[in-house]
């Protein structure tokens, strides 16, 4: 894991990506810092982070698009996978390298609240909280990006897909409140999930009959439930989607709350996507 981590860090800083990332990150944060704190004479730095969240749309793909897709394309994954290093170690090494670059840029922005503290009273708890929240949020996006880069061997595809994924994650709350669920909408949504499960079964077994049977059973259960106990469908789609509402979780940090459940949420979120990444690589070896 150490070898992979070291190489990735070296790559970030020998290929410009690391510098561009840090420069971009610090610049955008500095612009908002100037606008919201310096020019409007406000010491509330924690709101800067809420304003700059959108830059993850570009930053997350930038850090992760190459990580695993390029290994596959250059066939260097053959070297990694035939060396005495386990797949989780490879994934973790790469993930930690990306997070390190993010952490470095985050540390540089630490200078802004320090500047503020010379001229006024800063809310230390809230700023610390928003730092922790912002770090966890960014780490979650990086995990998603890493997973996506393990699926494709094309950097551009990986970047665009990560952009879309981060966009959707940022929009979850908006989408849910707009499409507040009628029961029939939730039924349709459950139907789509059922279909996805059936497709996953097909993908793994390559057996058409089993997959169709699975889907029919699922559909039957859903329809029966719909007529017997319609109430469970109330807001089901929304509830499901809110599982991915990373922004809601982040906001509690920005208010200065160190909400353990949110910390656990982010760590599990990251864990799940790293696990997915390992599975994707493992799966390719078996297919």
């Amino acid at each position: 894991m150490k070898a992979i981590y070291k190489r990735e860090i070296k790559m970030y800083f020998s290929s410009m990506i690391g510098y561009v990332f840090i420069a971009f990150f610090v610049l955008i944060t500095a612009v908002y810092f100037s606008l919201q704190n310096i020019l409007s004479l406000s010491p509330e730095f924690q709101y800067v982070f809420s304003s700059v969240i959108m830059m993850f749309l570009i930053l997350a793909p930038m850090l992760t698009m190459r990580l695993l897709s390029e290994e596959k394309k250059q066939r260097t994954d053959q070297m990694l996978l035939t060396s005495p290093v386990s797949i989780p170690a490879i994934v973790l090494g790469k993930y930690l390298a990306a997070v390190t670059v993010f952490l470095i840029s985050l540390a540089i922005t630490g200078i802004f609240p320090v500047i503020l503290s010379f001229f006024g009273t800063v809310a230390v708890a809230q700023i610390l909280g928003s730092y922790i929240g912002f770090f966890l949020l960014g780490s979650a996006f990086i995990a998603v990006g890493l997973w996506i880069s393990s699926i494709t061997d094309n950097q551009i595809v990986s970047a665009v897909a990560t952009f879309v994924a981060v966009f959707l994650l940022l929009m979850v709350e908006t989408i849910v409140s707009a499409a507040s669920g009628s029961e029939s909408f939730s039924l349709m949504f459950a139907g789509v999930i059922a279909l996805l499960i059936a497709l996953y079964v097909y993908y793994n077994t390559k057996n058409t009959e089993i997959s169709i049977t699975v889907f029919i059973v699922e559909a039957a259960v859903l329809i029966v439930l719909y007529f017997i106990k319609r109430s469970i469908f109330t807001g089901l789609a929304g509830k499901f989607a809110m599982m991915f509402a990373v922004l809601t979780r982040f906001n509690s940090f920005a208010m200065g709350l160190l909400d353990i459940s949110s910390v656990v949420y982010f760590i599990s979120f990251i864990g799940v996507f790293l696990y997915f990444t390992v599975r994707v690589i493992e799966k390719r070896r078996w297919s």
Binding site: K6, R7, M11, R75, T76, Q78, L81, T82, S83, P84
Partner: protein, 359 residues
């Protein structure tokens, strides 16, 4: 050292490897031979743990590649068909990374790398960025990477493909040097290479192991009691005379290089010494016999015969007769070796491939 048992690999419905089993002992140099798409690379990828077999077992020095991957992989150095190079690293950086990856102790890295670079003769390019290296040097860097950590087993997938003749000879020399201290499996579709470097050949075709043995034994066991003769005189007359003789089961014309002579390939019927029959026939008809030479199959012909013949199995070879005699002759062995060196295997291989594709 390496034990492969009942290896099967399916890609969907396509069977890339069908029940391959073999053993490689410590110190052996084994050549994997087969046309493109025969399953060589797949087999090697499974042995090294890059992909997993659908069923079957691979163990390296007693360590199963699936159950004990760390120990097994530590013993293998692998050079895949396309060397796994990070193009934007320098050679030294890259080899350092390889050493880190393989868990070489910090204090040992430096002497190890300089030793390896010396051996592979890449010391003078050690500070170059890999993407600026020529194909031959990239191949060497790939080979150096496989050597890092001094693994006991080297698995080399077409180590000389795409190199110019001079580079091929150089890489081959390196492999010969390495074979003194390593167990090696190398794949190739260049037969002269295999016969030059390996002490055992495994022929794979369409995912099956079709033959296995030393290069000499393979050609020996497949060759019949067949001779090439050179007779002075007109072709028609000589052919007629030999065809009239009931002692021969096969008479074929062969290309003649000398004017005024006729070359034939003849084979005597069972129980008849072909050489005697040729002599008797010549005397009877007053021909001047200029040459009798045993026609032992070259490895190339063995390869063609084995890969073209659908029903050919390993058993055929195992039963193969080992006739001594003229073939044992040292001069002749040398001649065959020269023949092997001079022929153009590429052409034959392409023909095979063409046929494969048609099927």
């Amino acid at each position: 050292m390496i034990e492969v048992k009942n290896l099967v690999k399916n890609y969907g419905k396509y069977e890339a490897v069908k029940d391959i089993s073999f053993k490689v002992d410590t110190g052996e140099v084994v050549g994997f031979l087969g046309p493109n798409g025969a399953g060589k690379s797949t087999t090697m990828n499974i042995i090294t743990g890059y992909i997993s077999a659908s069923s079957g077992e691979v163990s390296i020095d007693g360590f199963d590649i699936l159950k004990n991957p760390k120990e097994a992989k530590r013993r293998i150095g692998y050079l895949p068909e396309i060397p796994p190079l990070y193009m934007d690293m320098t050679v030294t950086e890259y080899l350092n990374f390889a050493a880190d990856l393989k868990g070489v102790k910090k204090s040992e890295i430096k002497p190890m790398l300089s030793d390896i670079m010396e051996k592979i003769k890449i010391t003078h390019v050690s500070h170059k960025v890999i993407k600026n290296l020529s194909k031959g040097y990239r191949q060497r860097v790939g080979l150096a990477q496989a050597l890092v950590g001094y693994p006991e087993v080297l698995i080399l997938d077409e180590p000389t493909v795409g190199l110019d003749p001079k580079q091929i000879i150089e890489i081959r020399d390196v492999i010969k040097e390495l074979s003194k201290s390593h167990t090696i499996i190398l794949s190739s579709h260049i037969l002269s290479e295999v016969s030059a470097v390996c002490n055992r050949v495994i022929i794979i075709n369409k995912g099956r192991l079709v033959a296995s043995g030393t290069p000499d034994r393979l050609s020996e066991s497949l060759s019949q009691d067949r001779f090439k003769i050179k007779v002075k005189g007109e072709k028609d007359e000589i052919l007629k005379a030999f065809k009239a003789d009931s002692a021969f089961s096969l008479i074929e014309e062969s290309e003649t290089t000398e004017e005024g002579t006729t070359d034939l390939i003849v084979e005597g019927k069972a129980g008849i010494d072909t050489r005697e029959a040729v002599f008797d026939n010549s005397v009877k008809n007053g021909f001047k016999l200029l040459m009798i030479k045993s026609e032992r199959l070259s490895l190339e012909e063995v390869f063609l015969q084995v890969t073209e013949n659908e029903n050919f199995t390993f058993d055929d070879l195992a039963e193969g007769k080992t006739e001594s005699g003229a073939a044992e002759n040292a001069d002749e062995a040398e001649e065959i070796e020269q023949l092997l060196e001079n022929t153009e295997p590429e052409k034959d291989i392409n023909e095979i491939n063409g046929e494969d594709n048609e099927k």
